[in-house]
């Protein structure tokens, strides 16, 4: 049933059930079932999250609720821990030597850092798109999209073919690559490569998609395409995007969270709210200053 649920786009809470079953705690299972029944899956809650590199605290005490099936933009000056923070959500932060996380991050009521949640499984449910397009250099376009499915197993060859096409269509790349699926993924342009990486991410059917400055290495035309894509994807996925581009945040996001850096160089959350409100009527003077370009 595990693979069956993961393969069905029509069952958005499948992976959450899967994740919940990995945890033996009945309360978590109940929470997950409740979440799936109201079709509101993908609610992300960060509670007092701190992230450290060794002794250095890069992010401190972030508490943030991310609405399901919406786009939340994380903005703020360089070095304020935005990228570090989203890497804690799919448990990528801890893959670096000496990196630790404290606090709790729950997805539909399941604590992603619970001892019963395998980080590998958490990463299947919370996908990630990186700053620089990083297709696998040894794989073709089609193999890149199917890589997650093939390397995690449990999906038949015939299913994979359909998922590859479906994912490429969702990533608005199908028409450009359908004639050359067997060419190397690295033969595409930068913007196409990034959409390929998005297709690869959604092919494993995550519930949350994290994006770490996905357009910063792209030209304006490619950026616009990715932004349109992000809006489309928000209908199905909870999206958290880090961006340095204020216009981008205002164009793509529903909610905006503004981060800043404290005197101890630790990033913290200044304020969060609906994007329109944040850009027109921020509550904090710090936010206003940043948005108007007075610093950062």
């Amino acid at each position: 049933m595990e693979s069956g649920e993961r393969n069905a786009h029509t069952s958005p809470a499948g992976a959450m059930d899967e994740l919940a079953q990995a945890t033996a705690r009945p309360t978590a299972q109940k929470a997950a079932r409740a979440a799936s029944s109201d079709n509101d899956a993908g609610r992300l809650t960060l509670d007092n999250v701190s992230a450290r590199y060794g002794a250095f605290r890069a992010v401190k005490d972030v508490t943030l609720a991310v609405r399901p099936k919406s786009v939340t933009a994380l903005i703020g000056p360089s070095g304020c821990g935005k990228s570090t923070l989203i890497r804690t959500i799919n448990r990528m932060h801890e893959t670096l030597p000496g990196a630790t996380v404290s606090g709790s991050i729950t997805l539909d009521g399941v604590d992603l850092y619970s001892s019963n949640v395998d980080p590998v499984r958490a990463r299947r449910v919370v996908g990630m798109v990186f700053q620089k397009p990083n297709p696998f250099p040894t794989m073709s376009i089609s193999e890149n999209v199917s890589s997650g499915l093939r390397l995690t197993g449990g999906t038949s060859k015939s299913e994979i073919e359909g998922i590859v096409e479906d994912s490429l269509r969702r990533a608005a790349l199908w028409d450009e690559v359908k004639e050359k699926l067997n060419q190397p993924g690295t033969s595409l342009s930068g913007g196409q490569q990034q959409r390929l990486c998005i297709a690869r991410t959604i092919a494993v059917k995550p519930r949350v998609v994290l994006m770490d400055e996905p357009c910063s290495a792209l030209d304006p035309v490619a950026t616009l395409k990715i932004e349109e894509l992000i809006r489309d994807l928000a209908a199905e996925y909870t999206i958290v995007i880090v961006t340095h581009n204020m216009q981008q945040a205002s164009r793509v996001s529903d909610e905006t969270a503004f981060f800043s850096m404290d005197d101890d160089r630790a990033g913290y959350l200044v304020e969060t709210g609906p994007t329109a409100e944040m850009f027109t009527n921020p509550k904090q003077a710090l936010t206003e200053g940043y948005i108007q370009g007075r610093f950062g």
Binding site: M92, V120, A122, R123, F130, P137, T152, C197
Partner: protein, 291 residues
């Protein structure tokens, strides 16, 4: 501060005395490093010319087709023996060395990596005669003079080469590629195998081939283990084997013009094989880098 056009022209074209000195020093230095480079290449050219000239008369078909005791003697058994010894050496040290390199690059903690790298450095510094003595005093008493003892000695020498080259090409695989795989929910071991190693595979194979060519040219350990024989030996590693470096060493001490000539000819064969391998590998690496 305006400068007239005339003075700009003068500024650009008229050298000062300091500049003239600099230009002269420059010229002298260029000639000096040119001579140094020529001196460095000279032995190589001399070596190749000498070996080719001395070897040419002895390169007849029977040299490649016959064994030392045939009426028209040749070194077939040495060529066969060398390829077998190096081949088996790579078959044994290859998998172990590659696995060790993958461990150091993908799994080991920084502390373990430091220890491992030091160990590799030490092993790389082991002179081949030491590996030979080890095999001669420890293995030969048990196994006798044999291909096995030779392969063991050669493996000691090629193992660190394999580990180092594997570790180094894996280090060239961008971290972003590994992260992409991990972020898809692919387990660490699968990421290491199907993403990191797969990406570095051409480089890893290059390391295998270079280890093969290193084993091909080793002499000291072979003299103390495989020892050489006049008989043709196919795949019987439990007894003595002939090899090209052994032939070169023994024949060049012989009191016969034919044998000394055959020593030169064997040297040419060995050099050609090693050179061909190196050139092929170089071509491959350059191609895979640009592709």
């Amino acid at each position: 501060m305006s400068i007239s056009t005339g003075s700009i022209a003068k500024l650009l074209t008229e050298p000062t005395s300091g500049e003239r000195t600099r230009q002269r020093v420059n010229l002298v230095m260029r000639v000096l490093v040119g001579i140094a480079a020529f001196l460095a290449i000279l032995p190589l050219v001399a070596l190749i010319v000498f070996v080719v000239l001395k070897a040419a008369p002895y390169l007849v078909p029977s040299f490649f087709a016959n064994n030392p005791l045939d009426t028209e003697p040749g070194i077939l058994n040495a060529i066969v023996g060398s390829l077998q010894l190096s081949g088996l050496t790579v078959l044994i040290s290859g998998p172990i060395g590659i696995a060790g390199g993958v461990f150091l690059s993908e799994f080991a903690s920084p502390r373990v990596v430091a220890i491992g790298e030091t160990a590799i450095d030490v092993m790389l510094g082991v002179p081949s005669i030491v590996a030979g003595v080890f095999a001669y005093l420890i293995l030969v008493p048990v196994l006798g003079f044999s291909g096995w003892a030779a392969v063991a000695a050669l493996s000691i020498l090629t193992l660190p080469i394999m580990m180092r080259s594997t570790q180094e090409v894996l280090r060239l695989v961008p971290q972003a590629i590994r992260e992409a795989s991990l972020a898809l929910g692919v387990p660490v071991w699968k990421t290491a195998l199907f993403v990191s190693v797969r990406t570095a595979l051409p480089g890893i194979l290059t390391g295998v081939i270079l280890a093969f060519s290193r084993a091909l040219g080793e002499t000291a350990p072979l003299l103390m283990t495989a020892r050489g024989t006049n008989a043709e030996n196919w795949l019987d590693f439990s007894t003595t084997m002939n090899a090209m470096p052994i032939v070169i060493y023994q024949y060049s001490n012989a009191a016969s013009d034919l044998l000394i000539g055959q020593a030169w000819a064997t040297a040419l064969v060995l050099m050609t094989i090693a050179l061909t391998i190196n050139v092929l590998v170089r071509g491959r690496t350059v191609n895979s880098r640009t592709a």
